[in-house]
Amino acid sequence: MGQLLIGLINGSFYALLSLGLAVIFGLLNIINFTHGAQYMMGAFAAYFLLNKLGMNYWWALVVAPLAVGATGVVIERFMLSKLYKLDHLYGLLLTFGLALIIEGVFRNEFGSAGLPYSMPSALEGGHNLGFMFLPNYRAWVIGASLVVCIGTWLLIEKTKLGAYLRAATENPKMVEAFGVNVPRMITLTYGFGVGLAALAGVFAAPIYQVSPQMGSSLIIVVFAVVVIGGMGSILGAVITGFGLGVIEGLTKVFYPEASNTVIFVIMAIVLMIRPQGLFGQR
């Protein structure tokens, strides 16, 4: 029971990260390999906001995604936007290269052991639920990321803005003809996806060490989540994120040595039975 809850908490990280990936892939057709590095940048941004500017965790939740999202806007504007007419592969190579560069720079600057980031005092401590000890902070993370996930899904599926976005990916010329600035919309979408990654990074900072490789160890799992959920499917990304968190958590109890690989085993099985992913459309 406790383990299920822990799994859900990890799942909320997976869901939040794969949500950003799914948004970017679904609407821009870019396989954003920089996502892990951007998650890491979010955590570092929180660290700097606290230690250099004295901004606490709550401000970091707002400022860090905006700041990192802004770097995303720059990347989209000056690099990714040149690649849309080419094969997916080029976007993948570019973002993968960027991830290596960003990680290398952070590692050279800050070393690999990581930096300390304290929990906001309001969320310290926890409650004994009888079957397990639930730290307040983890409860907060699971709630907050659920809200973000549902909000994003509503934004894209139920609002006019979301409708424009979806239409723009189908037929950009037509949408442009209606007077919508499509390139700007796409830029902001990428920035939004990157901001989601950074937000997950801020959530993670008080739990994990803020270290340059925190993204690279997560990104592969998150990609597996997106593939299992169906590339570009937002609902798929969220549900599979939570689901796989739980499965991984249970593996840690019954056969801990396999906890790193279980997600890929599931990915292989899913792809064999349903190549487009659980929620993918084809």
Binding site: I6, L93, A113, K252
Partner: protein, 425 residues
Amino acid sequence: MKFPMKTLAVAAAFAFAAGAYAQAKKDEKKAEPAKPAADAKKDESQISGGIVKIGVLNDQSSLYADLGGQGSVVAVKMAIADFKAKEKGLNVEVIFADHQNKPDVGSQIASKWIDAEGVDMIIDTPNSGVALAVNQVVRDKKKVFINSGAASSDLTGAKCSPNTVHWTYDTWMLANGTGSAIVKRGGDTWFFLTADYAFGHALERDTEAVVLKAGGKVVGKVRHPLNTQDFSSFLLQAQSSKAKIVGLANAGGDTSNSIKQAAEFGIVKGGQNLAGLLVFLTDVHALGLDKAQGLILTNTFYWDQNDASRAFTKRFAAANGGKYPTMVHAGVYAGTLHYLKAVAALKSDDGTEVVAQMKKMPTDDPLFGKGTIRVDGRKIHQAYLMEVKKPSESKGPYDYYKVLATIPADQAFRPLKDGGCELVK
């Protein structure tokens, strides 16, 4: 499609540049080719290629990069400078590479270094899995392996080699230092959180033996994959085991993550205690004293021990971006120094002979003081049982430890006869 060729070229160039970046960082120093063997004839001494070539092989990019990494390269260069190799007519070169914590990568680099680049001595090599693989390569090729970073006591036990010196610490020492001290303080039921590879297994095995011998009990264990981010599941298991002590048989980023998350889950507040079986200065630095305070650990070098160690630290930090040395860095420095002394004394860099010479000569360096190297390759020196200070007790940067006890050299390491090393007759 306005400029398809241009964008394509930019994209491809970017990706290549990025990919090459990481590789180039690693290969930076590899470019200098060894002098052709013909030069050796001019040289009167028996130095192969006229050059003593030292290869620092360690984790340059992942969870063990701060405790070894570039700092170990700095330490080797300091040892060469302090030995005044040039004035003594020794031409010493240093190269380094990243083994990525993969035994196959590590042994491949070691082979290539020795066969194609004339490397005479390989040093550092944390990650016991990689160390055991390199140990075999160096033995087969009859060169020298001085290990500082890896912990497995098998390096001087079942897998001991006439070409290997194990310098700084090992799992038996850690287990007996920290393990027995904790059992003596009443921590008699244990739950192990173990990194699932050679090092974790060895540390768990050696600590379990100490706990059982002292009358304690092991109530459970869980093995987690190397470089795990989230320990909550494992900590929950530790919590429900009701063991008094949660023994962390892991290292580097794994240790700091598990300590940080243990605080979150209220493990210590709930009456259980953590035993960090292998904790480096860099881990405490990464955690911050408020999370790490009270941890008991065993160490063989601490920067604030005496004037010599402080003087070394000052120079080291200046060359290493302000970061202070770990015991691994100290071992790399001292090991290189002793190696160069042996090479100078023999006027030869023949691997097996140099190691024999290293064992023959007593060791003496500013960081570990006087000591010896045993026939099984074990370097013998004192160890210290230490406790991490409270934030209020710390007076400055890296002022983290106080010494609880000094473990004399003759008790710090596994008795020669117990290791099962074939070199011991």
